[in-house]
Symmetry: C2
Subunit: 189 residues, 2 copies
DNA sequence: GTCTATAGCACGATAGAC
DNA sequence: GTCTATCGTGCTATAGAC
């Protein structure tokens, strides 16, 4: 058995990547450990050698999902990552359809409040990172810049979440457009 | 047995009221038919004389929960239901704590996307009603008024939802304040 | 219409072989 | 560390007495 700890680490990361994808798309309750492990190429029994519970996996998955979404976004944006292009990419029909990017902030808002504090902690950390990202290049006044970034974050995350919940495609498109304008209001067009 | 159809109607409404309360607070998956029926003063078996499935109950509950939240809000506002006071009541710490008002739009955003179309239909109808409510007394230009109301709805519903998800009380308070200002921006202070 | 009882299933977590 | 097998539990939905 030439396997060392680096093999365990690899398995752990495969589990985390599968969990991040599945949890973000379907929520905590609709994803079983079975499903996660099968996606990662293993079976149920191996799970508890890496995580002590489903809830612990979920908490860690949130950060993993956020990193994955961020990477996807950077990849799509290329070198020009102006706020305008970031916002257009985030508040897009493509994001709404869930084909490529899946932001856990938007897709798990309601899910989070029903879990323990570890999970809420993870979500909060990701949200703060999101706000800081938006605040970059903003106003000189730090406090006012933070408040503006907060409002933009609500329009982005809330707008995406609501657009996914409603089943009126035309209204959803209008809603995304309104949010894009709201976030970019005052910016260069 | 002097029971007539009006008795059945009463039972049905008790079930709906219990379901609206419990579903809104805990989400679809964490509320059992057992629990709903017990809250309504009955047992499991009686349920299927009124609804054909849990999903059907859920879909109907959304409208019921919206009406209940609306009534609570009106009751708290009294005769002065200016937009300013409506917004302050909605984006309040009290709403965040869930003590009195519980808006299904904010509390079930993520829950909805995982259900069938009947459920999304019900949510969409409630959301449109909410937007229309906000649009009243707005701009003369109907289209522009609708767009402004949409943005305000996102700030209200999204802001409340995010404030509930994060576990940083100070950030939550700031976020609610930012959203209140954002919605009332341009209004009389 | 409401009750009790139960079928049928899915899931989280654990035990023990290799 | 990963596997198969299983325990225990909770749930939706149905069956049948009253």
């Amino acid at each position: 058995m030439p396997w060392g700890p680096e093999q365990k680490q690899q398995s752990r990361e495969r589990i985390l990547n599968s969990a991040a994808k599945l949890f973000t798309q379907h929520g905590f309750d609709h994803v079983g450990i079975n499903e996660v492990m099968a996606d990662a190429g293993m079976t149920r029994g191996a799970f508890y050698a890496h995580f002590s519970s489903k809830a612990e996996l979920y908490a860690e998955s949130i950060a993993t999902a956020a990193k994955a979404a961020h990477l996807k976004a950077i990849e799509a944006l290329g070198s020009d990552a102006s706020l305008q292009r970031v916002v257009k990419g985030y508040l897009s029909e493509e994001h709404r359809s869930g084909a490529q990017i899946n932001c856990p902030l938007a897709l798990l808002i309601t899910d989070i409040g029903q879990r323990d504090d570890k999970v809420r902690e993870a979500y909060t950390r990701v949200f703060k990172g999101f706000v800081n990202l938006i605040a970059q290049g903003g106003d000189a006044d730090a406090d006012e810049a933070h408040r503006q970034a907060l409002q933009k974050a609500v329009l982005m995350v809330g707008g995406m979440a609501i657009s996914r919940a409603i089943n009126d495609e035309e209204l959803a498109a209008t809603l995304l457009d309104v949010c894009r304008n709201g976030v970019l209001d005052g910016q260069e067009a």
